[in-house]
Subunit: 249 residues, 2 copies
């Protein structure tokens, strides 16, 4: 499919081909390939199910509107039943951020960390981020993008938890870029934290256009733009190798 | 200052120099250069002052949390006094979106439309957008970015008003790109709506890193990245002109 990602390691310090093999590989990975988890006791499963619903609700209606009363309505549970799990609105918000973080790690980060260091891992992080918006892993789009803009001016423990999760995400991207530099896959002159923000910005902007304006092609376009940006930086890296053979995505 | 924008039109269909003259020009424009406005009656001024405060409050705490009660607390006014201006929470939200839109037009769009068509106008739009976040024209950062992610999954008249404002913004950017293409300032092969979203995404991502993570240099970096992107597209335009003389910002 046009604009999707394929990557073929050509040689140790040379260029990458980008086409759609990479994505086809991803598509064949089903959720069942995730590492098996321990069986959780019923109380924990109930709590997790509640938090899963809370993360969806917060992605739709905002984290500040996530009260025990609102969630009880949504789940058709009693407020007292929910109070048994979470003593206050803030406890519920913090637990929801924790659950959203686990879901995000399962959907985006952990599968990417299973890929080889360098360009394959970096591309998988970005592809999975775009796909978790496209596939509505959270009902309202990216939980953390919404929560970031909602809480950026609201100091307190909830904001701190969101900041912590987002710092972890940016450092995961940054580390993947550093690894790609070490592997000789992209330009060693780039500043990794800055480049991480640059390519992530394209994804956030696409989320905005997709979620608000209904631009169906925004995520596909972001994918192509990110690829073109990575391609230009792998080309700059070439040092005398043939650059003409970096294909269009 | 490093990373700021200067632009010198070199010749009709050739390259641009980018350095800091452009920004110095902007700095010399004070608010008093805005076109004079009619004197408004007192009731209208009161209503506008209320809405100005409402837009700030919404940028800090979210538009959904903007109730007549919350705003009355903030302004130390009676709820009945506010009800005289706005009959319902939704009326207040819609009027606040309208006010935010006027403030945004005054801070970003109108001054840019006073600049010559082509690269000068496009750069001024982007520079003013970054600056309205940096200078906290709205207390909590960009009103519309926050409102976009808050309302993208909340159908209704408020979402419709936000979408309308954001479509206008994207088409203003798109038109500026088309004009820059017609003037021969940037590559005629670019798709203007797509390129508009691409460069705006850098600004939104920088807002995210600045507002949430406190990255003081995020806006400066976005400015440099946008300039580099525009430079690369004005270079592609060259058709045989000397490209080596496009300076670093």
């Amino acid at each position: 499919m046009q604009g999707e990602l394929r990557i073929t390691h050509k040689n140790e310090r040379s260029c990458y081909y980008f086409d759609n093999r990479y994505t086809r590989f991803m598509r064949h990975r089903s959720k069942s390939t995730a590492s098996p988890r321990r069986v959780r006791p019923k109380g924990e499963r109930t709590r997790n199910n509640i938090l899963r619903a809370a993360a969806d609700l917060a992605s739709l209606e905002g984290l500040e509107g996530l009260t025990i009363g609102r969630l009880a309505d949504e789940l058709k549970m009693s407020k007292s039943g929910l109070f048994a799990h979470f003593g206050s609105k803030q406890d519920l918000q913090l637990a929801t951020v924790g659950m959203a973080s686990e879901i995000f790690k399962d959907s985006v980060i952990r599968p990417a960390l299973a890929r080889p260091r360098g360009m394959p891992r970096l591309l998988e992080l970005l592809e999975r981020w775009l796909r978790h918006v496209e596939d509505k892993v959270f009902a309202g789009g990216c939980f953390f993008t919404a929560a970031s803009f909602e809480f950026d001016s609201r100091p307190g423990p909830v904001r701190t938890a969101i900041v912590e999760a987002m710092r972890q995400w940016l450092s995961t991207l940054t580390r993947a870029i550093e690894e790609a530099q070490k592997a000789g896959h992209i330009n060693a002159d780039l500043e990794p934290p800055r480049f991480a923000l640059e390519i992530y910005s394209m994804a956030v902007g696409a989320h905005w256009a997709f979620g608000l304006l209904g631009q169906r092609n925004a995520l596909k376009n972001a994918r192509e733009t990110i690829l073109a940006r990575l391609r230009s930086e792998s080309r700059a890296q070439g040092n005398g190798t043939t650059h003409g053979d970096v294909k269009k995505a």
